[in-house]
C-alpha cells in the first residue's frame, strides 16, 4: 500500500515535469528586445546620437587620422618620444605598406561609423513618429555617412559602398567606382540639405547638422569632383562636376546661410576660435563634440588634444609642426604679413600660455627625446596651438586621459570662403574671388590681395596656412595636383600614392572579393 502511494507520487511528478514546454518562454536577459527598440522618436534619436558620438573616438583624431592627412603632407612630423610608435615615421617618407596598423585603424573606424549611420537610415523609416522629425534625423545620419564616405574616398579611392544595411546580410561585396561613391555622397548631402532644419539649433543642441551645413559641405565634395583630372585614371572631372556647380552652392551659403567668421575677439579672434568657450560658434559647421561627464563614466574620451600637446603639460607631442612648415610660414610673414595667424597656430618651448603655464621641452635628463632645454631655432620643440585646452578647463573625468573637453573642428566657414574664392577664380571672377579670400585674410591682418596679384597658388597657400593641423593638407595636395612636385623628394610617387592601399586584413578576410588598389598589389 505504501509502495503504491510512492509509485503514484513519482509518476505524477514525472508527468508534471515533462509537460513543461513553456520553460523556454522567457525573454533574453538584459537585452532591449529588438522588437522594443526602433519604435519611438527617442529610439531614432539614440541611433543618430550614436553616430555623432563615434566621431569623438580615438581613430578619428589619433595617428590613424593625422598620419594619413597631415604627416604625409610634410607639414607635420611624428614628434613625441623618438621610439614611441616609430612606424608613424613611415608616413613621412612613404615607406608604409598595406599592413600598417594605422591604415587598418583608419579604415575600420570609418566603416564602424557608416554601420551606425546605416542602422539609423534603414530602421528609422519604419518608426511611427512625426514625419518632419523623422526626415530630419535621417538627414543627420546621412550627413555623417556622407562625411565618412568622403573621408574614405579621399583616403583610399575605390572602396565598398553600403547604401543602408544589406538586405541579404551579405557585406562581402566588391568595391565601387569613384563616380558611384561620389554620387552617393552627393545624394546623402542633398537629402540632408532638403530635410535638416534651416534655422540653427538652439543652444542646448548646438553641434547638430543643419540644412546649410549640408549644403556647405556639398560644396567641398563637388570641388573635389571638379578637380578629378588631377587624380583619376581617366584624368577628368568626376560625375562631370563643374566649378559653376561649386560656386552656386558657396554663393548660397555665403549669402543666405547663418555662418560668419568668428571675429569677436579682435586680433586674437583666430586664437579664441579654437578655445573651449567658443566651440560651436557661428563659424563652425561641423565639429566633434568632445565633453565628459562626472556622473556618466566612459563617454566621449577623445585623445585629440593630449596627442598633440606639450609633453611638460601632460601631452604626447605628436603631429608636431615640421621645419618645412615653419620655414614657409616665416617666409610668409615677410610677404603676406601672416604673423598673427602664425603666432596663434604654433606655440614654442619657452612661451607662456594665457593660463600662466610655460611650454617646456626636456625632462629630467636633458638628452632625452623630447627636446633639448638649450635648443635654439628650429631645434626647439613646438606644438599646434589649435589643440590647446587649458588645464583650468580640464574636468578630469577622463580617467588617466587629459583634455577630453577640447573639440576638434571638422569643417568651418573660413574654408567655405576659400572654396568660393577658388571657384570664382576658376570661373574668371577675380573680384568675387578677392572678396571671399580677403575676408579670411582680414581676420588675421594679412595684406589684402588685389585683382592683379591673386593667383591659384595664393588661394591654395591660404588654405594651407588657414587650415594647418586640421587634417586637410595631404588630400588638398592630391586634389590640386601639387603632390608629385612638392612631395617627390619625400618618396611620393604618382599615381601610386594618390590613394592609400586598402588594409591587408580587409583583403584577406574578403577571400578574393575585395581587390587591392592596383598600384599597391
Amino acid at each position: 500500500m505504501k509502495r503504491n502511494f510512492i509509485y503514484i507520487a513519482i509518476f505524477s511528478l514525472i508527468g508534471l515535469f515533462t509537460s513543461c514546454k513553456d520553460i523556454f518562454n522567457y525573454d533574453p536577459y538584459n537585452q532591449v528586445p529588438p522588437t522594443q527598440f526602433w519604435t519611438s522618436q527617442s529610439d531614432a534619436e539614440k541611433a543618430v546620437f550614436a553616430c555623432y558620438g563615434t566621431i569623438v573616438d580615438w581613430p578619428f583624431n589619433d595617428p590613424a587620422t593625422f598620419n594619413l592627412a597631415s604627416i604625409a603632407s610634410g607639414d607635420t612630423k611624428k614628434g613625441g618620444t623618438a621610439s614611441d610608435q616609430p612606424n608613424v615615421n613611415q608616413f613621412s617618407n612613404f615607406t608604409f605598406s598595406s599592413t600598417h596598423n594605422h591604415i587598418s585603424e583608419n579604415y575600420n573606424a570609418r566603416y564602424f561609423l557608416i554601420n551606425m549611420c546605416n542602422q539609423a537610415i534603414t530602421n528609422i523609416p519604419k518608426i511611427t513618429m512625426d514625419e518632419t522629425a523623422k526626415k530630419e534625423l535621417i538627414g543627420e545620419a546621412k550627413f555623417i555617412r556622407a562625411w565618412a564616405y568622403f573621408d574614405l574616398v579621399k583616403t583610399f579611392g575605390e572602396v565598398i559602398v553600403y547604401d543602408g544595411l544589406p538586405a541579404d546580410g551579405n557585406y562581402n561585396i566588391s568595391k565601387s567606382s569613384l563616380a558611384d561613391i561620389y554620387k552617393l555622397i552627393e545624394s546623402d548631402l542633398q537629402y540632408a540639405t532638403a530635410n535638416c532644419r534651416v534655422e540653427p539649433w538652439s543652444a542646448e543642441w548646438k553641434g547638430r547638422i543643419t540644412s546649410y551645413g549640408a549644403k556647405a559641405y556639398l560644396a567641398k565634395v563637388e570641388m573635389y569632383e571638379a578637380c578629378g583630372a588631377n587624380f583619376t585614371e581617366d584624368h577628368s572631372a568626376i560625375n562631370d562636376r563643374k566649378w559653376a556647380d561649386v560656386k552656386a552652392l558657396t554663393d548660397d551659403v555665403i549669402s543666405h546661410g547663418p555662418y560668419k567668421l568668428f571675429t569677436e575677439k579682435g586680433d586674437s579672434s583666430f586664437f579664441y576660435l579654437f578655445r573651449i568657450p567658443y566651440e560651436n560658434s557661428d563659424e563652425s559647421i561641423f565639429e566633434a563634440q568632445c565633453g565628459t561627464s562626472a556622473t556618466v563614466g566612459g563617454i566621449a574620451r577623445s585623445s585629440y588634444a593630449q596627442y598633440q600637446w606639450a609633453t611638460n603639460l601632460n601631452g604626447w607631442a605628436f603631429n608636431a609642426p615640421s621645419d618645412q612648415l615653419i620655414n614657409d610660414w616665416e617666409a610668409r610673414i615677410a610677404t603676406d604679413n601672416d604673423v598673427l595667424r602664425y603666432q596663434q597656430s604654433i606655440i614654442w618651448q619657452g612661451q607662456t600660455l594665457p593660463d600662466g603655464d610655460v611650454i617646456g621641452a626636456a625632462t629630467q635628463n636633458g638628452t632625452s627625446a623630447f627636446g633639448d632645454v638649450n635648443a635654439t631655432g628650429l631645434a626647439r620643440s613646438r606644438f599646434s596651438l589649435k589643440a590647446y585646452e587649458s588645464r583650468n578647463d580640464d574636468k578630469h573625468n577622463g580617467g588617466w586621459q587629459a583634455f577630453c573637453e577640447q573639440n576638434y573642428k571638422l569643417y568651418r566657414f573660413a574654408e567655405v570662403l576659400l572654396i568660393d574664392a577658388e571657384a570664382e577664380f576658376m570661373l574668371g571672377n577675380k573680384q568675387e574671388a578677392i572678396n571671399s579670400i580677403n575676408l579670411v585674410r582680414d581676420r588675421v591682418k594679412e595684406t589684402p590681395l588685389t585683382v592683379s596679384n591673386i593667383s591659384l597658388q595664393k588661394i591654395w597657400d591660404e588654405r594651407r596656412f588657414e587650415l594647418a593641423f586640421e587634417n586637410d593638407r595631404f588630400f588638398d595636395l592630391i586634389r590640386t595636383g601639387q603632390a608629385a612636385t612638392l612631395l617627390g623628394t619625400s618618396g611620393f610617387t604618382a599615381p601610386k600614392n594618390y590613394f592609400y592601399p586598402l588594409p591587408q586584413q580587409a583583403i584577406d578576410v574578403s577571400q578574393g572579393i575585395l581587390k587591392q588598389n592596383k598600384y599597391w598589389e
Binding site: 615607406t95 587598418s104 542646448e204 635628463n365 580617467g399 578576410v509
Partner: protein
C-alpha cells in the same frame, strides 16, 4: 532369516557408503600459498564448508561427479567436478581488480569488464599525492587522449582537450560532473576530497550527456563512507613555490648599448648616455616565491544501513605575482542510507570558501617589456618617471598601485537523491542538485601621478558581485533482468532538466576622501567623497539558460562475453533559435571478451577484449543570444551637445544602436565519433595494455571568425557554424606492475597520436579563415580545407640583410635596412609582401605522452612522473610585441646582428620587422617535463598500532621540477584560443613547488 536382513542392511550401507563419499582437498592461491576461509559449497545445495588454516577442507556425503563451487573474496570463483573421493588440489586465481572495478558512468555505474567504450579512470591515490591547487592539474600526463595545458594565471583552470581540438570555442572544455552535479570547473575542489576521476572519452560513453558532451566528460566522485568503523585521516604538506622559468631580459648597460645601436641603424640622432642610467631587473618587483600549505582532515565510516564521509580542508596557495594571495577552506559531507530493503537515499555537499587577492599576470608581461635602465624609485624615494626614454609604465609602481584587490567567493554543491526499488526489477532514482555560487570582488585604485602616461588623478573603487545558481533535476527508471542465467539486460530511461542563471552587479565611484587605511573595512561605496557624488557608473547584467532532455541506455551481455550498449539523448536548449532547438544524440557499442571463449582458454593471455562503438555528441557551450539581434546602449558612444558639454556635468545624450552580427539560423555543433579498441592483460595480469583508434568529426563547429572590417560590426568576431574538423588518432596505455619479494613496482605509460584537419568550411568562410588578435594587427594563422586548424601563416625568414648591396640585389622589400630579417619571395614576383606568406607550422601537437613509475620497498615508496608533447610549434607573440622602446630579450642581446657578418639568423636591435609575423617567431613547442617526484617513508605498522594509529607516512615532493624544451618563451604550454591556438600572448611562468608532508590514518 535375520542373517539375510543383516546382509541386506550391510550391503545397503555399503552401497550408500560407496555413493555418498567424502571429498578432501586443499585450496591454494596463485603463489601456492594456502587460502584460509574459502567457501566450498556443493552446487545447487546449501551443503558446504570452509577451508582451514592449512587450506584443507573436507566434505562428506557427497555424490560422485558433484560440482563444488569455491568462492573467496578477491579471487575468481571456481567450479570443480568431484572424481570419486580423490583428494583435490584447487588453485584459485586472484580476480582482476581492474576488471571488477565498478566505475561511475553517465547516469549509472558499470563494471569495467562490461564496458564497450573508452573510459579511463584515475584513482584517488594518484590524485591525492600531488601538491596542486586544481585537481585537473593532477591529471596531466596520466590519461591517453587527454591533453592538459596550464594557463598560468593563479586560480585559473587548466585547459583540457580530449582527443584533439575539435571544438573551438574558448569556453568549451569537458563537462565536469561532481557527485552527479554539473559544474563549470573544479578549481574549488581539493585533490584530497576526491575518490575517483573517470573520464569518458568517446562518443559511446559521453553521448548520454548529449548537449554538453562534445569535449568529453570528466566524472568525479568525492570520498564516500563504507561499512566499517570510523577511519580518520589527516593529510598535510607545506612547501615553497617559485617561478619555474622566466625569459631573461637585457640589463641596463646592455639596453643602452642596443638602444644606441638601434638609433644609429634607423638614422635617428637620439642617443642615451650610459653614465646616466643604472640597471634593474623588474622581475624582482613583480614575481615572488611563496609558501604553500595544505591541511585535510576526513572521517568516514558507517554501518550496513548508512555510510558517511566528512572532510574539512584548507589550502594556502599564493600566486607568483607579489601581493597575490589565495586561501581556500572547504567542508564536505556525504551520507548514503538504506531505508529498509527497497529505498536508498542520500545527500552530499561540498561547501567552499575562497579568500584571495588576485593580481594580474599583465604585470609579468610588462616586466618583460619595460626598460631596465631606471631603478623603480629615485634617490629621494619617488617613483621613477621613465618617459624621457620610453612612453611606458613604471611597472613596479603600476603593480604597487594595483594590489588592492579583494575577492571572496562562496560555492556550494548540494545533491540529494532517492532511489526506490519498485515492482520487481525496476528501480527509480530521482536526484536534485543545486549549485549556488557567489563571488564578491572589491578593487580600490589609489590616485597617483608618476608620469603623463601613468597617472590617476582621482582614486576609485570598484565593487562587483556575481551570483549564479544552477539547478539540475534528473529522474531515471532502470529495469534490470537476468534471463536464463546468462543473458543480462538493463534498460534505463530518464529525463534531465537544467536551469542556469547568473547575474552580476557592478558599481564604480571615484574621488573617495582620505581613507583611514586601505583594507576591506573602509572600502564601501558610501564612504565620503571629495565631490560628494554618488556612483560614477554602474552596470547590471545577467542571463538564464534552460535545457531539457530525454535519455536512455540499454546494456546487454551474454555471459559477460558478448557485450552490447546503446544510448540515446534528446536535448532542447535555449541557446539556439526555435527552429533548431532540439537535437538527438545516439550511440551504439559492442564488445567481445575473447578470453571468455573456450578456444582462448589455452593461451597465455589473461584477458582480451575487443570493442568498437559509434556515437554522436553535441556542444551547446556557446554564448547566449548569438541568434538574436542586440541593441547596444554602451556609454562609450554617448555624448553631450551644446554649451553644457564643457561643464563636466552636462546632460548626456544616450545612444542605442546595433554593433553585433547575429546568426538567425544557428545550428547545434555535433561531434560524431567512431572508436575501436583492444584491452589486453598478459603475464598474469602484470601487464595491461589498452589501444584505441578513434576518428572524430566535429560538424558545424561554432566559433567566431574575424568579421569583415567594412561591415562595421562585431569586432569580437562573427559567431556561426563555420567549419567541419576531423581529429583522428591512436591512444596507447601500458601498465606493468610486479612484485619481487618486498619490492613492488608499477610502471605506466600513455602515448596519444592525434591528427587534426579541417575537412570543410562554411560558405561564408570558403576561402579560409584568418586568425588575428583584435588588438594586435598581424595575421598569425590561416585555416583552410586539408590543413590543421589554426596553422601558422606568415613570411618565411631566410636570413639577414648584411649590407645595402644585398638589399638592392634581393627582391624588393620596402624600407629594408641592413640587419633586417630577409624574407623569402615565395611567389617569385620580385617583391616581398603579404602574398609571399606560406604555412609555417602546426600548433596542434601530434603526439602527447606521459610516463610514471612508482616503487615500494618495505617502508619506503617513491613516485616519478613525466609528461610532454612533441611535434608542435608555438608562435612567440610575446617576443613580437614591440612597438618601439621595449626591452630586449637576452637572446637578442647575445645574438643580434650588429655589423656585416655578425649574424645570419638574428636581426639587429632595430627589430624593424617586429610586427611582421614570420618564421623567426615560430619555435619548436616540444617539451618533456619532470612533473612530479615524491619519496615517502611509512613508519612500521606494529610500532604505530601501539598508539592506535594505522598509518603514518612522511614524504618529500617536487612538482614541475624541470621542463626540457627549446622554446624560449615563459612556458611551452600555450592555452589554445580557438583558431589562434599556439600563439603565445601570455607571459606567465609555471610554478615549481617543493614540499614536505605527512599522511596520518587512524
Amino acid at each position: 532369516m535375520i542373517k539375510r536382513i543383516y546382509f541386506v542392511l550391510v550391503a545397503l550401507l555399503l552401497t550408500i557408503a560407496a555413493t555418498a563419499q567424502s571429498v578432501t582437498g586443499r585450496v591454494l592461491g596463485d603463489s601456492k600459498e594456502p587460502l584460509i576461509g574459502v567457501q566450498v559449497i556443493v552446487k545447487g545445495s546449501n551443503k558446504g564448508t570452509v577451508s582451514d588454516v592449512s587450506g584443507d577442507f573436507t566434505l562428506s556425503g557427497i555424490e560422485n561427479k558433484s560440482v563444488l563451487v569455491f568462492s573467496y573474496i578477491g579471487y575468481e570463483t571456481k567450479e570443480i567436478t568431484t572424481d570419486g573421493n580423490k583428494p583435490m588440489t584447487v588453485t584459485m586465481k586472484p580476480s582482476d581488480k581492474n576488471l571488477d572495478e565498478v566505475l561511475v558512468i553517465g547516469y549509472g555505474s558499470a563494471k569495467r569488464k562490461d564496458l564497450t567504450s573508452s573510459i579511463s579512470s584515475v584513482d584517488a591515490g594518484i590524485i591525492n599525492k600531488q601538491t596542486v591547487q586544481n585537481p585537473t592539474q593532477a591529471l596531466q600526463g596520466k590519461v591517453a587522449g587527454v591533453q592538459i595545458t596550464n594557463s598560468g594565471a593563479p586560480g585559473s583552470s587548466p585547459q583540457v582537450r580530449i582527443r584533439g581540438m575539435g571544438t573551438i570555442t574558448d569556453g568549451a572544455g569537458p563537462l565536469y560532473i561532481v557527485d552527479n552535479v554539473i559544474v563549470n570547473d573544479i578549481s574549488y575542489l581539493g585533490p584530497n576530497d576526491i575518490d575517483n576521476i573517470t573520464i569518458l572519452k568517446d562518443a559511446s560513453s559521453a553521448a548520454i550527456y548529449g548537449v554538453r558532451a562534445a569535449g568529453g566528460v570528466i566524472l568525479i566522485t568525492t570520498k564516500k563512507g563504507s561499512n566499517s568503523k570510523p577511519t580518520i585521516s589527516f593529510d598535510s604538506y607545506v612547501g615553497i613555490k617559485s617561478p619555474a622559468h622566466v625569459v631573461q631580459m637585457a640589463t641596463g648597460p646592455e639596453y643602452v648599448q642596443l638602444y644606441n645601436e638601434k638609433m644609429a641603424e634607423i638614422g635617428d640622432p637620439s642617443r642615451l648616455d650610459p653614465a646616466q642610467y643604472s640597471s634593474h631587473n623588474y622581475y624582482d618587483d613583480i614575481l615572488t616565491n611563496s609558501i604553500t600549505n595544505s591541511e585535510n582532515l576526513s572521517i568516514s565510516g558507517g554501518s550496513s544501513s548508512s555510510k558517511y564521509s566528512v572532510g574539512i580542508s584548507h589550502l594556502t596557495d599564493n600566486g607568483l605575482v607579489v601581493h597575490d594571495n589565495y586561501d581556500r577552506t572547504s567542508f564536505r559531507a556525504k551520507l548514503d542510507m538504506n531505508l529498509g530493503k527497497y529505498i536508498r537515499m542520500g545527500f552530499s555537499n561540498v561547501l567552499t570558501y575562497t579568500k584571495s587577492k588576485p593580481q594580474s599576470t599583465y604585470y609579468v608581461f610588462k616586466a618583460h617589456q619595460v626598460v631596465p635602465i631606471f631603478q623603480p624609485k629615485t634617490a629621494n624615494g619617488d617613483w621613477t618617471n621613465p618617459l624621457s626614454v620610453s612612453r611606458d609604465l613604471n611597472v613596479a609602481a603600476a603593480e604597487y598601485y594595483n594590489q588592492y584587490a579583494y575577492q571572496n567567493a562562496y560555492n556550494l554543491i548540494l545533491n540529494g537523491y532517492v532511489e526506490v526499488d519498485l515492482f520487481k526489477d525496476f528501480t527509480f532514482r530521482t536526484s536534485l542538485s543545486l549549485n549556488p555560487n557567489e563571488v564578491d570582488y572589491t578593487h580600490y585604485y589609489p590616485s597617483y601621478n608618476i608620469s603623463s602616461y601613468q597617472n590617476s588623478p582621482k582614486n576609485a573603487l570598484d565593487k562587483n558581485r556575481t551570483q549564479s545558481l544552477n539547478t539540475y533535476w534528473d529522474n531515471t527508471l532502470t529495469y534490470t533482468k537476468t534471463i536464463a542465467d546468462n543473458h543480462h539486460l538493463k534498460v534505463m530511461l530518464g529525463t534531465s532538466y537544467q536551469e542556469e542563471t547568473w547575474n552580476t552587479l557592478n558599481a564604480h565611484v571615484e574621488g573617495l576622501k582620505d581613507l583611514p587605511a586601505i583594507n576591506e573595512s573602509y572600502l564601501f561605496l558610501t564612504m565620503p567623497k571629495i565631490d560628494n557624488l554618488w556612483g560614477s557608473s554602474n552596470s547590471d547584467n545577467g542571463d538564464k539558460t534552460v535545457a531539457h532532455s530525454y535519455l536512455g541506455r540499454l546494456t546487454y551481455d551474454y555471459k559477460e562475453k558478448y557485450l552490447l550498449t546503446a544510448t540515446f539523448r534528446n536535448d532542447i536548449s535555449s541557446k539556439f533559435p526555435v527552429q533548431n532547438r532540439s537535437a538527438f544524440f545516439p550511440s551504439i557499442g559492442a564488445g567481445w571478451v575473447l578470453t571468455s571463449e573456450d578456444f582462448m582458454k589455452s593461451t597465455k593471455i589473461d584477458y582480451l577484449k575487443l570493442r568498437a562503438n559509434w556515437g554522436r555528441m553535441g556542444n551547446g557551450v556557446i554564448p547566449s543570444n548569438i541568434y538574436v539581434p542586440t541593441i547596444t546602449t554602451d556609454n562609450y558612444r554617448a555624448l553631450i551637445f551644446g554649451s553644457a558639454q564643457n561643464s563636466g556635468s552636462g546632460q548626456v545624450s544616450s545612444i542605442g544602436t546595433v554593433t553585433q552580427f547575429y546568426n538567425s539560423n544557428l545550428r547545434w555543433e555535433t561531434v560524431s565519433e567512431f572508436d575501436a579498441g583492444v584491452d589486453i592483460h598478459l603475464l598474469k595480469d602484470r601487464l595491461t595494455a589498452t589501444i584505441d583508434y578513434y576518428n572524430r568529426n566535429t560538424i558545424d563547429a561554432i566559433f567566431p571568425i574575424t568579421s569583415l572590417p567594412s561591415s562595421g560590426l562585431s569586432t569580437s568576431g562573427v559567431w556561426g557554424n563555420n567549419a567541419t574538423i576531423n581529429n583522428s588518432g591512436l591512444e596507447f596505455t601500458l601498465n606493468w606492475s610486479d612484485k619481487v619479494n618486498d619490492f613492488t613496482y608499477n610502471l605506466g605509460a600513455n602515448v596519444t597520436y592525434n591528427q587534426n584537419k579541417v575537412t570543410s568550411l562554411a560558405a561564408s568562410s570558403a576561402g579560409g579563415i584568418y586568425g588575428s588578435f583584435y588588438d594586435f594587427p598581424p595575421t598569425f594563422t590561416y585555416s583552410t580545407v586539408g590543413q590543421p586548424i589554426g596553422e601558422f601563416y606568415g613570411l618565411k625568414t631566410i636570413g639577414v640583410y648584411q649590407n645595402a648591396a644585398e638589399i638592392n640585389n634581393s627582391p624588393h622589400m620596402s624600407g629594408a635596412i641592413p640587419g633586417d630579417l630577409k624574407f623569402q619571395d615565395s611567389n617569385g614576383d620580385g617583391t616581398i609582401d603579404a602574398k609571399d606568406r606560406v604555412f609555417l607550422g602546426n600548433p596542434n601537437p601530434p603526439v602527447y605522452f606521459g610516463f610514471d613509475a612508482s616503487f615500494q620497498y618495505k617502508s619506503w615508496d617513491a613516485t616519478v612522473a613525466f609528461q610532454g608533447v612533441t611535434g608542435n610549434k608555438i608562435a612567440n607573440a610575446v617576443s613580437m610585441w614591440r612597438y618601439g622602446t621595449e626591452n630586449f630579450e637576452e637572446s637578442i642581446v647575445k645574438n643580434r646582428w650588429h655589423g656585416e657578418g655578425t649574424s645570419t639568423y638574428y636581426p639587429s636591435a632595430a627589430l624593424s620587422n617586429a610586427q611582421t609575423f614570420s618564421s623567426f617567431y615560430v619555435e619548436d613547442g616540444s617539451y618533456l617535463r619532470v612533473k612530479n617526484i615524491q619519496i615517502g617513508y611509512s613508519l612500521p605498522k606494529n610500532f604505530l598500532n601501539k598508539f592506535g594509529v594505522n598509518k603514518l607516512r612522511f614524504y618529500i615532493n617536487g612538482e614541475n621540477i624541470h621542463t626540457f624544451t627549446k622554446y624560449t618563451g615563459f612556458s611551452p604550454e600555450v592555452p589554445a584560443g580557438g583558431i589562434m591556438a599556439g600563439v603565445d600572448k601570455e607571459a606567465y611562468p609555471l610554478a615549481s613547488v617543493y614540499s614536505v608532508g605527512l599522511n596520518l590514518n587512524f
